[in-house]
Every structure is written in C-alpha cells, then in structure tokens.
C-alpha cells in the first residue's frame, strides 16, 4: 500500500502535467451556466506561467509512456489490497455513508464527537475507495479516447468520444481537489501519521508509556 501510494504521486503528477500539454491544443472546456461563463479551463496566463504552450507532441509522448506505469501501479495496489485483505478496512460499509457526514461535521469543528472507527474512518473509506474507482475511470475513459475504434465498446460505455473526454478531464480536476483536501488532512493529522505512511507503523501505538490514556482517543484523520 505504502509503496504504490508513493509511486503513484509522481506518476499522477506527470500524467496531469502531460495531460495539460495535450489539453492546451483544444481547450474548450469551461463552466458555463445560463450562458454565463464563470471559469474557462484554463486562462491564458496559466498556460504561459507553467510553460504548457505548443507542446502537444511532447505531452502525448510522456502521457503514453506514463500511462503504463499508472496502470501497472494501480493493478499492483488493487491486487495487494485484495490479497492482503486490507480491502476490508477500505471499502465503505453500509453505515459509512451516514457516518461520513458525522466525520465531516466533526472535522469542520461543528460536531464534537467523531464516530468510532478502525484504521480508516467512514469518510476515509469513501474517499479512498472513490479515488480507486476514479483511477479505474481514468484508465477506461483514457482508453476510450485513445483508441476509440479498437475500444469502441469502452467509448460507448463512456457515452461517446466527446463525453469520455469530458469525463477524463473532470476526473483529473477531481484528483486535484482530492489532493488539496488530502494534504490539508495530512497536515492536520500530524507528523506521526504522515511517517506511518512511510515506515508502515505508527509509533505511539507500540510505545508502552501512555497505554491507559489513549485507548479511544487516538485518531488518525
């Protein structure tokens, strides 16, 4: 889990970056409601600032190499999660959807108590499972626009070439939003929680000292 997580970070970054190089060549998406455009993906200054202009072929070359790594890493993660049984900690349960709301209220300091949890709380279960579904979605919508003739059935499932491209784009925006929230949560969770994703354990749990005090207090979000 830890390895694929950290491997995924640079891969996804490169995929998003190279995807932007490609998107630049035909940047038609915007948020428009009732004829008013609120935001255009992306403003000209944005492309210029990050040097995303006139690099379509380069973007495609990077995208079509790193797609393999993204795919393989995703397979590894899912396979590991399944075989190790860790999926039980991750997949949302029936109660998760109700509890996630409570977790959200708690995290926003609206509610004092958070529901009890195991390794991951309800909101995390939903978020971490959703991100995997999104990853699979990116692969499928990606293939649907990459080989729309050979994978015509994928393109069909995705609602056609146009809609597949929109989905592929929207998922990417989703990753960025996920990333922002994820980082905020990691900062709030603190260093020990962060390091546990590197070394695989959380130290406090094994230290004998504060045993009594912390049976239920320990939170990992």
């Amino acid at each position: 889990m830890r390895w694929t997580h950290w491997v995924n970070f640079p891969i996804l970054t490169i995929m998003i970056w190279s995807g932007m190089l490609i998107y630049w060549a035909d940047d038609e998406y915007s948020i428009t409601l009732f004829g008013h455009t609120f935001f255009k993906f992306f403003p000209e200054w944005f492309y210029k600032k990050f040097g995303l202009v006139h690099r379509l072929s380069e973007g495609m070359a990077f995208h079509f190499l790193f797609m393999w790594f993204f795919f393989l890493n995703g397979i590894l993660y899912v396979a590991y999660t399944l075989f190790s049984g860790e999926w039980r900690e991750l997949v949302p349960q029936k109660k998760s959807f109700k509890e996630a709301w409570l977790v959200l209220l708690h995290d926003l300091h609206i509610r004092k108590m958070a529901p009890p949890q195991n390794k991951y709380n309800a909101a995390q279960r939903i978020a971490y499972t959703a991100i995997i579904v999104m990853g699979i979605g990116s692969v499928i919508t990606g293939l649907a626009i990459y080989k729309p003739v050979q994978f015509y059935y994928l393109t069909w499932i995705c609602g056609g070439y146009h809609f597949a491209r929109i989905l592929h784009f929207a998922l990417t925006i989703g990753y960025v939003l996920f990333f922002v929230i994820h980082i905020v949560q990691v900062i709030l969770a603190g260093w020990k929680n962060f390091s546990s994703v590197i070394n695989g354990f959380e130290v406090i749990d094994t230290k004998p000292k504060p045993v009594i005090e912390k049976a239920h207090d320990e939170e990992k979000d």
Binding site: E58, V149, Q150
Partner: protein, 261 residues
C-alpha cells in the same frame, strides 16, 4: 573473528529507531532516485532526425513499443469506426491545415494524375475519371484530430481496398507500409498496411456529396478513420509501398508514427 559477539535482542525503542532509519532511508533514496530519473528523462537527448524526429529518445522508443502492443493485441480490421446518419454531418467541414496544398502554389487540377509507384519501379498513372468509375463508397464518421477536437463529416470516394483489388496491387499490400505524398512532396504520410486496407479507408473525391474543394484536398484525399487527422493526407499525388516506414510529416516533428485510433 575469534570471539563471537552475542547479539542482544533489540529493545522496542531500538527496533523503532532501526525501522524508522531503514524506512526513511529507503524512502529518501527512492525519492532522490525518482528525481534523478525524471531529470534524466526530461533532459534526455532528442532523437536524430530520420523517419521520426523531434521526440526524446526514450519516449520515441516507448511510442514504438506501445504501437506494437496495441497493434498485436487490439487491432482488428473487424473493429469498425462508428458511423452516423448523413443528417448529423457538419455542413461546414473544419479546415485545419494547408501544408502541401498552399494557395500560392501552382497546381493544375485538370492535369492531375494519381501516381502509383510499385516496388518494381512500375508506375501507374490514374485519372480522377478512372477512380470515379470504380464502386463508390460513402462514410459519415467522427473525424478526430490529435489536438482533441472531432467532427462528424461525410465523405465519398473509392475504398482503398477496392482500389487495390481493381489495380491488382495485392502483391504490393503484402509489404508492410503504404506511403502517400502531395504532388509537391511537402506533406507526406506513412501508414501501416493493415490500417490502409481497413474496410473504411477511402480515397475520397467528395465531401457532403459534392466534389472536394481545394482546401479539403481536391481532387483526391485520404480519409482513414482509424487514424488521427494528421494522417488524412490532402491532395494525394503519389502512392507507394514498402517494407520500411515511409517518411511522415508529423512523425518527424515528434508525433507518434502510428497515430492509430
């Protein structure tokens, strides 16, 4: 090595420190490795210009390998591009490029002939009338550009495979590639033969049931729905066959040679 040291079992604290040391060490090393790996790739040399050009060498290798994987595992001439009713076709067909057919270049449509160069040196000269005498095929499909846009458009002409059959060129399509060039030889594409003889590949002389206008490649252009627009050569002058990749305008500029859909 005379006296064996008796190893004391590590205390829990020591174990923690030890594991932390190892984990963070490995993590740090991997991170540094990743950064260097990326720097290496990002600054890797651009290939020397040949049939392909303009791409980082490792990325070009990856594109070529990826082509093989997708061709071997997924390509089938039975996979047809989706077609649409004529009513959905764009009236105003998007015009994106005039490379090789620029307005200021002298070109006499009346004297145009399609040259077919066989491997043995034999050359066929074919007129538009000859081609129009062959069975006509029409297709309404979603034309796709590498840039990302697409447009449903309606074309008519001779299927490439019908053309091959009529002119007895089956020995030529045993070769691996088909090359096409504009009469002035400034725009050129190379296409793997399986894609060229795909049942929906058309030598088109009509768009929206009217003769091709000059900016869409009059008198004859390639419509190959299993490829991006960059391979759909306008104003075909020469068709040739070979076992090696023919030169290709956009592949020389960093794009994937295959560019198949």
């Amino acid at each position: 090595m005379t006296k064996k040291k008796i190893k004391k079992p590590l205390t829990i604290d020591q174990k923690i420190t030890r594991r932390n040391f190892i984990s963070f060490g490995v993590f740090g090393a991997a991170a540094i490795g990743g950064v260097f790996g990326w720097k290496w790739l990002y600054h890797s040399a651009i290939e020397t210009k040949g049939i392909t050009g303009g791409a980082h060498k490792p990325l070009r290798r990856a594109l070529n390998k990826t082509e093989i994987i997708f061709r071997r595992l997924f390509y089938s001439e039975n996979h047809l591009v989706k077609t649409y009713p004529k009513s959905m076709a764009a009236k105003d067909v998007r015009y994106n490029s005039d490379i090789g057919i620029e307005n200021n270049k002298p070109f006499d449509i009346a004297t145009w002939k399609l040259q077919v160069k066989k491997q043995n040196g034999e050359v066929l000269n074919i007129t538009l009338q000859d081609l129009k005498a062959l069975p006509k095929t029409e297709i309404v499909f979603d034309f796709k550009c590498v840039e990302g846009w697409d447009q449903i458009s309606y074309w008519g002409g001779v299927r490439f495979i019908d053309f091959i059959t009529h002119y007895n060129l089956h020995d030529q399509t045993q070769l691996q590639y088909v090359g096409m060039e504009t009469p002035d030889k400034t725009y050129y594409v190379g296409i793997d033969t399986p894609s060229a003889i795909h049942p929906q590949t058309i030598l088109a002389y009509e768009v929206n049931a009217k003769p091709l206008p000059l900016d869409h490649g009059a008198p004859l252009r390639l419509i190959i729905p299993v490829k991006y627009g960059i391979k759909n050569l306008k104003r075909i002058g020469i068709i040739s066959f070979s076992n090696t990749r023919p030169r290709d305008y956009w592949a020389e500029l960093g794009y994937d040679y295959y560019s198949g859909l």
